[in-house]
C-alpha cells in the first residue's frame, strides 16, 4: 500500500465528452489491504463513470458499514457520499432518492451488510424498485472484524482457520430476482471487461439494478478450501455471455454469430448487447435466469454476467406519482396551502 498518490499524469490522457480525464473520477487513496478485490471494483466504477460521461456531482454514493462500505471514499471524490449505518444504506438511499429523483444513486454494500444485518432493508428496497445501483462486494466473510463467516459463505467452504461452514449460503442474485429486482447481474472483481459494461448498464437502468460481485478477501478468505478465494473463483467462473453496453445514439457495429446475440433496448435508447454463451437462458425471462443460476450452482460454477433484466420498469417515483420537479426543489408556493385553506380546515373541526 502506498501512502502518496503520484501526481504525475500522462499529458495526453484521453478526456471524455465533459473534458474530464479518468483521474478526475478517482477518490482518495484506498486504505484497504493490498490486492483487495474491492479496489478493483472501485476502479471499475471510476472507469464506468468516466466512459458514461457522468458529471460526478450528479451522482450520490451511499454505503453501510464494512470494508466494502469504505470504498465510496476511494472513487468519485467530486460526488457527495454518505457512509451510513450497518445494513441500513437502502433506507438512506430511498430517502435521498425520494428527495431528488434527478441524481444517480450508487449504493455499495457487502455480504455482511446486505445478507445479514441489512437483509430486511435489502429485501424492501428491491420490492419498491428504487431507481439505484446496488453493488454487493461479496467476499463471504466479515473482513473488518477479522474474517468471521458471512451468510454468503458457501456450505462446505473452509475459512482461514480451517473451519468448514456448516450453514446454507444465501444466494443474493436469485433472491433479488425472486423479490422482483428489475436488473440482476453477477460478476467477479477480477473481470473488469465484464464488470465495467455491467455497471454502465446498471447506472442507465431506470429501476433497481443489482450487481453481486464476488470480490475475494486477500487477508481472511483467500485460503485453500475457500470458495471465495481468487484461485477458486477464477477456476469456477462461468459467464452467461460477453457483454457490451452501447450508449444512446451510438451505432452498433459489433457483430456476433447468428442466434447468439441478443440486444436489450434500454429505456433511454441505449442497448445492452449480449453475446450469449449459454443457449437455454433468456435474460428477459425470470424463470430461465433462476434456472441458469441453480444449474450453475449444481455444477459448482459461479454464473456471471447479466442474469435478468426487465427494461420496462416503473420506479418508486412513478408508483407514488410524485412530481416531475424534485421534491427538494419545491418552495412555499407549491407546498404551503396558506391561511385561507387553514380557515376552512378549522371550520371542519367546529
Amino acid at each position: 500500500m502506498s501512502y502518496v498518490r503520484p501526481k504525475f499524469r500522462h499529458p495526453s490522457l484521453p478526456t471524455n465528452k465533459l473534458g474530464y480525464t479518468v483521474d478526475y473520477y478517482e477518490g482518495s487513496l484506498s486504505t484497504l489491504c493490498a490486492g483487495c478485490g474491492h479496489d478493483s471494483i472501485s476502479a471499475s466504477v471510476i472507469q464506468a463513470a468516466f466512459e458514461l460521461n457522468i458529471e460526478p456531482h450528479r451522482l450520490a454514493k451511499l454505503s453501510g458499514i464494512g470494508c466494502s462500505s469504505k470504498t465510496p471514499a476511494y472513487f468519485l471524490s467530486h460526488s457527495h457520499g454518505f457512509n451510513s449505518v450497518h445494513g441500513r444504506m437502502p433506507s438512506v438511499a430511498t430517502g435521498a432518492n425520494l428527495a431528488n429523483k434527478d441524481l444517480i444513486y450508487f449504493g455499495v454494500s457487502g455480504d455482511g451488510d446486505t445478507a445479514s444485518i441489512g437483509m430486511g432493508q435489502f429485501v424492501h428496497v428491491i420490492r419498491r424498485n428504487l431507481n439505484m445501483v446496488y453493488v454487493v462486494m461479496n467476499n463471504g466473510c466479515y473482513g473488518l472484524t477479522k474474517g468471521q463467516d458471512s451468510a454468503t459463505a458457501d456450505n462446505g467452504s473452509k475459512n482461514k482457520s480451517g473451519q468448514v461452514n456448516p450453514f446454507e449460503s444465501i444466494d443474493l442474485a436469485s433472491l433479488a430476482i425472486e423479490l422482483g429486482a428489475t436488473f440482476v447481474a453477477q460478476s467477479f472483481s477480477g473481470d473488469k471487461t465484464q464488470l465495467i459494461p455491467l455497471m454502465k448498464a446498471a447506472i442507465k437502468h431506470p429501476g433497481f439494478a443489482f450487481i453481486n460481485v464476488i470480490s475475494p478477501c486477500v487477508t481472511f478468505n483467500n485460503n485453500v478450501g475457500s470458495t471465495k478465494s481468487y484461485d477458486y473463483v477464477r477456476e469456477h467462473v462461468e459467464a452467461t455471455s460477453t457483454i457490451d453496453f452501447v450508449p444512446q445514439m451510438t451505432e452498433i457495429t459489433t457483430s456476433y454469430g447468428e442466434g447468439t446475440t441478443e440486444k436489450v433496448k434500454m429505456h433511454d435508447g441505449s442497448f445492452i448487447q449480449l453475446n450469449k454463451l449459454s443457449k437455454d437462458w433468456d435474460p428477459l425471462d425470470k424463470r430461465s435466469a433462476v434456472n441458469a443460476i441453480m444449474s450453475a450452482k449444481e455444477k459448482g460454477e459461479i454464473l456471471t454476467g447479466l442474469l435478468y433484466m426487465n427494461p420496462d420498469t416503473q420506479d418508486l417515483h412513478q408508483t407514488i406519482n410524485s412530481s416531475d420537479t424534485p421534491l427538494n426543489m419545491l418552495h412555499e408556493k407549491e407546498l404551503c396551502p396558506g391561511s385561507t385553506i387553514l380557515k376552512e380546515i378549522n371550520a371542519n373541526f367546529r
Binding site: 467530486h78 430511498t94 435521498a96 425520494l98 428527495a99 406519482n321 427538494n328
Partner: protein
Amino acid sequence: MSLNTKSIEGQDGSVNQSGINNFVVRFANVNGTGSASANHLFTKAIFRMGIPVTPKNIFPSNIQGLPTWYEVRVSEKGYLGRREGIDLLVAVNPQSMQADVESVRSGGYLLYDSSKKLGQEFIREDINYIGVPLMNMCNENYTDPRQRQLFKNIIYVGALAALFNIDFKELENLLDEQFKGKEKLIPANIKALQLGENYIQKNFKFPLDLRVERRDILKDSILMDGNSACGIGAVYAGATVAAWYPITPSTSVVEAFMDYAATLRVDKTTGKRNVAIVQAEDELAAIGMVIGAGWNGARAFTATSGPGVSLMNEFLGLAYFAEIPAVLIDVQRTGPSTGMPTRTQQSDIMEAAYASHGDTKHILLFPSTPKECFDMTADSFDLAEELQTPIIIMTDLDLGMNDHVSQPLQWDDKRKYKRGKVLSAEDLEKIERFGRYHDVDNDGIPYRTYPGTHPTKGSYFTRGTSRDEYAVYTEDGNKYKQNMDRLMKKWETAKSLVHKPELYQEKNISENGVLFFGTSTYSVEEAMDDMKAQGISIDAIRITSFPFNKTVEDFIKSHKKVFVIEQNRDAQMKSLISIELQIDPNKLISVLNYDGLPITAHHIVQEITTNLFQNQKVK
C-alpha cells in the same frame, strides 16, 4: 324507578355548586360496535352549544369485542383534564357491567338497556337507574342486524339529549354534515334519536339536574385531536417526505398528513404529487429514509411511539453526529416494552433526550394542545434545518388520539421556511475551500450543501465516523474532541432558538413552584385554581422544550421547592432537570401518575397539599 334530585357530590366528597355544564359521562361500550361515532355525536353537540367539553377514549389494544370506554367531561369553567367520579354511566356492555355500576359516584346515574331485567347484583341503593329498552326498540324498528346494533348507540344519544337538555337541532345538523352525499341515511338516524328522546320524555322526569345550557364560551375554538394537528402542521411546514411504520398511537399522524396531502399537494397542471409518503418495513427504515431525504435537502419526518424510538436510536445518533435535519413525532404511550399500547404516558423523555450510544443530546418539544401540535410541528422543520439535527416532538396518546378544545390553527402567509445554512452554487463559487464542519459563524452550526449543487465544489463525504472540518476521516483525538465541543456549542445556540417556557405569573411571588409540561397542563391549571380557592398560591412554569433555557433555571432557583408534575414512574423530567441544570434533586418534588390514564387535578392537589401540610407539621 324514580329519579331523585339530590345535590351532586364531587369526587372528593365535596358538594359541587351546580350540575349545569359541569359533569362527567362515561360510555361503557364493546369496541367494534359503532359506538365511537355515536359518542362523538354526543360530544360534538355539546361543543356546538358553546360549552367546553373534553372526550377521552379509553380503549383496549384489540379490534373487536373487548370493553371500551368513552369518557366525556363537560366543564363550564373550561377544565379539560380528566376528572374522577362518574356522574352518569351509559352501560351497554354486559361484560364490564359490574365494574361500571361500581364506578358511578354515589348519587349518580346509570343508564342501561332495560330490554332484560337488570340482575340484582347490579343494584345499588345510592345511585339512580334509567332503564331504556334499547335492544327491544331496535328490534321493533329495524330489521337489518347491523342496523339493530348501530342504532342502539344512536338511541341512547337521543335519550341523553332529553336527559341533558341537548339542543336537538345541533344533533340534526351534525347528522346532516356527517351524511353529506349519503342523505338517505339521515332519516333513519333521526328516527333513532327521536326514539330515545321520546322514551325519556314519556317515562322519566327530565331534564336531569345535570344538564347543559347554551353558552358562548368557546368562540372560534376547534375540537381536534393532536395527531391531526401534527399532520396538518407537517403539510404547512412543507414536509415533502414522510416515512413511517404503523404503531399506535402515532399512526393517525401520518394518516392525517396523507389525507390532507392528497388534496393540498397535487400539482394542478400534471396531477402529480408534491409529496412522497412511504410505509417503511420497520422504524429503522422509516428514520433512515427521513435522514436520507434530510441529507438531500427535503423536509422529512416520521411519527412513532416509544418502541419505535427505541429502534431508531442508532440512526438518531448518526443524524446528531453527521448533522442531518430530521423531524420525529413521538406520540408516547405506556411502556416499557409493549406496555399498555393504548394508554397514555410521558415516559419516553430520557430515551428521547439522550437517544443513541455515545454522547448525544436531542432537542425535544413538548406541545400541550392541538394548536401547539400544529405550531411545534411546523416550527420543528425550521429548527431541524437551522440546527442540522433531529427534533423530537413529545406528544402523547391523550393529546394525539383524543379530541381537545383548542384555539384555531393559524398560519401567517408571510412566513418563510427557515432552511438554515445551505450554500448555493453561487455561494460556493466565492469560497476557496468548503469545510462541511467548519464553525464559520462561531455558533457551532456549520454550512452544508445539497448533493448535486456544484460541479467541482461542495461535495463531501457524510459519515458517522470521526472527521475533521472538511469531513475527511480522522482518528486524531484532538480533531474528534474539537468536533464534539462544537456540537456542544451548537447545543447552547439551540437554547435561544427553541420555544420559551410559559410562566403563569409575571414575577415569581410564592415560595413554591409547580413545573409541568404536555398534557398535564390541563389538570395542573385546574389544580392551581383549586388550590387558590383553598388559599394556597403557587407559582407555575410550563416547559415547552429541551434544552432548558435560562428561564427554567431561574424559576427553579428562585423557589424553595418545585413540584414537578409528570406522567411516568421514574420522574424522568425531574432527572433531566437535575442532570442538565445541576440542580439539587431534593428541591424537586415529584407528583407522578402512571396508571395509563391522564393525570387528574384532584391527584395533583392532594399530592401537593399533603406535602405542604406535612412540612408545616415538621416545623
